[in-house]
Amino acid sequence: MTHATAAAATGGGRPPASAAETLDPSLDTFPKLVVENARRFGGKVAVREKNLGIWQAYTWSQYLADARVIALGLASLGFARGDKTAIVGDNRPALYWTMLATQALGGVAVPLYQDSIEREMQFIVDHAEARFAVVEDQEQVDKLLHVRAQCPRLEYIIYDDPRGLRHYRNDCLLSLTELKARGEAFDRQHPGHVERELAAGRADDVAIFCYTSGTTGQPKGTMLTHRNLILTARNAAALEGLRPDDEVMAYLPVAWVGDHLFSYAQSVVVGFAINCPESQATVLQDLREIGPTYFFAPPRIWENLLTSVLIRVEDAWAPKRAMVRSLLEVARRIEQARLAHRTPRLRDRLLAPLGGLLVCGPLRDNLGMRRIRVAYTAGEAIGPELLEFYRSLGVNVKQVYGMTESSALIAIQRDGDVKRDTVGTPLPGVEIRIAESGEVLFRGPGMFRGYYKNDAATGQTIENGWVHTGDAGVLDRDGHLKIIDRARDVGRLSGGTLFAPKYLENKLKFSPFIKEAVCVGDGRPFVVALLNIDLAAVGNWAERRNLAYTSYTDLAQKPEVYELVREAVGRVNAGLAEDGELAGAQIRKFLLLHKELDADDQEITRTRKVRRGFIAQKYAALIEGLYSGVAHVNVEAQVTYEDGRVGTVRADVRIADMVVAGA
């Protein structure tokens, strides 16, 4: 890598392809970039936050000024280069500023999932050796105070929202306002402190520890440097033509590498504005008010939005319902033709403008997606049907592929070159190789430095300069990467048929009634599925049929609901029957789980990835029931509340048989 070449590192300027790995040393850290942003467009909005019902805007100058005072406050408490700041809370401007403040002092930001239970928080704060924690509110303060005894290095807990904390008396507690006041005093005694520390920052300093949620074992602290993140952010931004006037919603967990790349790294590198919603519950309304031009969401959010749309379609007057369905179908056929580079049928082409006017346009507007130029689905594989649905509405949703260890991105679907079943081609500067075993390997500028204090895991993941993704995939004729599944999850049925659980689960989850699915089949005679119903969609369906229910468990075990889900599973089987190789992987039996899979119970990760090993163990009785031919199984499951208390849910779970669809 050469450091000498100067390239336009900010703004929408496209660096030449060879510049994909070079950084201007005067702009090689995030704090330096923010100083530059404040100089170039100091009066432009950098962050908006909806507070007390009004969008409050902060410019790049304010971004810098706030981060600077926070940095001074931290410095007054003895923050030294290399110190870590744990950051916990929803997407609040102050928390993004704290990241910048930490990095300006040569420290490392350690964002945590705000819904982490105490045990998880304690592990990360202790493992990262954080001396400082900056958190949103009382909820997070309470959790940290509880685990403080087990985190001996944690010295200060600083909070943003003082509500409920007035009577707390603890030497380690400090409000952000107090911190800033200390910072201002410190500035007078030590003028130029932040500026000196900021200038001492280097591209290869670690910027952030992203603790991977990990579907197995304890979380690992992925170390990403300024170089990793800036180059990845810049290369992707150049590819998509992102501009300083773009608008983004910052609503996904700050601890997720995706939010960090889009809402922090790219915002700073390109200079576009991020918008923080009022609360988690208002995201959809806020989305509509902002109308972002650049949007990212994990498949779960796309699924939820689709479900909310379909519920409302079901509630509509019959002729209207028929119109919406038929015009959506027209849009879908046109999109299918476009993806296959075919010309759509004449009838569809004639109906398309009507569909756009009556259904697709209003729907897009209603979802707050009217202005979207670029949208990503990331974090997990998305069902092709889902992708097609949004694209047919006219929302430019593209799949991206990546992981924490790659600074979020490895491959992106290019505009005009989107295939339903691939995740696109490598990002500029990134190389992809498929190992003998079928595992996807990559190397490039976003490659992580290693796992903090875990050389064994680092050694297993990085081999000869290539990073093992743990995913099984293939490169097709056009160089597109196709991900099949987690490498270790792909197996074979005892009859030899290929079994890729994720692929089946995504097909199942396309049904609005199925929220979560876990397929089992490796080494077994046939495939079975454990399903979670979607309470909102099935509840609405039950209401329209005057079907009374008392709880999630009760609703899930209704024979009528089983029939409803049976139809959805039947459609998946029919689809599989058409696919020669996978016809044998049809779902023979399923059951509806009596409780929702929950991250607090460790059944899924905080980013909602199914933890198969854990589920196989926890629900062993149910899985045995599915293979033994009984009609129902009695189970008992533990539920963990957010405060760590544990309760038990008992239920009698019915098992449904499926008829296998013929080819």
Binding site: N51, L52, G53, R163, G164, E278, S279, A281, T282, Q285
Partner: protein, 262 residues
């Protein structure tokens, strides 16, 4: 449970009796509620709890006895005069304007604070506009406090019961009361909604220093959040003290479990 502390009296009820025809709803009830405390009024059905609340808020006038609020005699005030003193209440059966948005419902709680001419308000001009903005800002703080941002524009009638209760509390808070009367704030709620409501009640008391009297049936809630418990039975006060004292009181145990009276 909360530590009892000595408090100056805010409300003093002295020998109140209320009679509806042949029914003696309250008979010689006396009690004192201290400034800044959370007091719970408990008792079996028909014990006279709601009647007591109605007497305090001026809906009913007692046939005997006196009420002193903030050191002054307030026995014979009308409800709007009581409200002007800084006493707000919620109702056992939710009483919201169902067709109005949550925001508008809460804004009605500010009515007593609004001054200005009808004409200027109609034109939304000058002091009327400034005043409207100030009230809206105050209401937004309550919305934030009670975490109901997501339903700000939803009409109240479409909300689930638990949320309607919360909106009602918001409207009561909009009047900036010094004394808040809550009639069964947690009736018909599930456990999670109850816990939320407890958190908000404690928060109101803590954040704004509001004195709160609530009627509640759920004993675990009462014991958790109140520092002063008053038990009524057949219109008479049978116990008055800390949660522990009242729980141990034999008359209360009898009233709740029922005893064979020969």
């Amino acid at each position: 449970m909360r530590e009892p502390v000595h408090r100056a009296p805010l409300l003093e009820v002295d020998g109140i009796s209320v009679r509806f025809g042949a029914v003696q709803a309250l008979e010689g009830v006396s009690l004192t509620i201290g400034r800044g405390e959370i007091a719970a009024i408990i008792g079996p059905n028909g014990a006279g709890k709601t009647t007591l609340l109605n007497v305090i808020s001026g809906f009913y006038h007692p046939s005997e006895g006196h009420i002193r609020f903030d050191g002054k005699d307030r026995t014979h005030l009308k409800p709007f005069e009581v409200a002007a003193l800084g006493i707000a209440r919620t109702f056992q059966n939710v009483a919201l304007f169902k067709g109005m948005s949550v925001l508008d419902n809460i804004m009605t709680g500010r009515l007593l604070k609004m001054r200005g001419s009808f004409l200027l308000e109609g034109l939304y001009w000058g002091p009327a506009k400034r005043q409207e903005l100030e009230h809206r800002a105050f209401v937004e703080r309550i919305i934030d406090f009670l975490e109901i941002q997501a339903i700000r524009k939803t009409s109240a009638g479409r909300l689930p019961y638990g949320l309607q209760k919360r909106v009602e509390l918001a409207r009561a808070l909009a009047a900036e009361p010094t004394f808040l009367l809550l009639d069964e704030p947690m009736a018909g709620m599930n456990l999670e909604e109850k816990e939320d409501m407890c958190r908000f009640i404690l928060g109101v008391n803590d954040e704004f220093g509001t004195t709160i009297a609530l009627i509640e049936h759920d004993m675990s809630v009462v014991m958790d959040i109140s520092e002063h418990v008053i038990a009524l039975d057949y219109g008479r006060k049978i116990a008055d003290g800390t949660p522990d004292e009242v729980r141990a009181n034999s008359a209360v145990i009898d009233a709740y479990l029922g005893v064979a009276h020969a």
